[in-house]
């Protein structure tokens, strides 16, 4: 006797598993896409333009970025790596150190971000920045 294989009925209510998988995959996709819109960066307190802070000269570390992106520390050209070393040394000697960044109006934003990143990495709490070139 030939035994025929039982066929599933086309209207079988239990045959929708792949559809569930598909819809849940789409949900996961949208949740992931929504996560892409989260902003990350640096949270900074802008200096008060009307009330300039008084800082002792010995506690001040002056850094500047030229229009070509060159970084200078107290007037001497330096690199990001050398800047980190100088900041660490200054922090050791002057715990109340204030880092003042003066940026040329034509300097690229990425260069400013590089310096801000380094200062934040070294946990410098007193940080201020302004635009140089007499137009700030």
């Amino acid at each position: 006797m030939i035994k025929l294989k039982e066929r599933r009925k086309p209207d079988d209510p239990g045959d929708s598993g792949s559809l569930n998988d598909l819809s849940f995959l789409l949900i996961v996709f949208f949740i992931v896409i929504a996560g892409f819109n989260v902003n990350k960066g640096f949270l900074m307190d802008l200096p008060d333009a009307s009330k300039p802070r008084i800082v002792q000269t010995a506690d001040l570390l002056k850094c500047s970025i030229s229009n070509s992106g060159e970084i200078s520390l107290d007037g001497k050209a330096t690199t990001i790596e050398a800047l980190s070393a100088s900041v660490l040394e200054m922090k050791r000697n002057n715990p109340n150190m204030t880092f003042l960044l003066t940026v040329d109006p034509d300097a690229e934003w990425q260069r400013v971000v590089d310096v801000i990143h380094e200062v934040r990495r070294l946990d410098v709490s007193n940080f201020s920045f302004k635009m140089g070139g007499g137009r700030s």
Partner: protein, 123 residues
């Protein structure tokens, strides 16, 4: 066998719900080249205002191109309505600093202190 057909209905309803929510939270993204850094913090809040700065200095807020005075009025109105709004400055990496400073000056004029400078995580 437990009938599973209702599960797909629930799945699709959830899908429609999430699609609608993402439409409500629609973001007017300006095509810029993000500046990059390695160590970042999440600066997103419940209420956010994004100020976009293109490399040519063009400012835009929520898809609207604005000048400095219009920017000031938008920021002032937003902060008056929701004081806890987080202001994000999203500038192209090649933007000359003078354009970023324009936004900084507007925020300083409004006595708004805490600002998020948005950058992308370097890979």
């Amino acid at each position: 066998m437990i009938p599973m057909s209702s599960m797909s209905d629930i799945g699709f309803l959830l899908l429609i719900f999430i699609m609608l929510i993402s439409l409500i939270n629609q973001r007017h993204e300006v095509p810029i080249e993000y500046s990059e850094a390695t160590r970042l913090e999440k600066t997103q809040e419940t209420d956010n205002l994004e100020i976009w700065i293109e490399s040519n200095g063009r400012l835009s807020v929520d898809g609207e191109i604005v000048d400095d005075s219009r920017l000031e009025s938008i920021v002032a109105a937003t902060l008056a309505e929701k004081p806890a709004t987080r202001v994000h400055v999203i500038a192209d990496r090649k933007t000359p600093y003078r354009h970023v400073n324009r936004v900084v000056r507007v925020l300083q004029a409004l006595q708004h202190r805490t600002v998020s400078f948005v950058v992308r995580e370097a890979l």
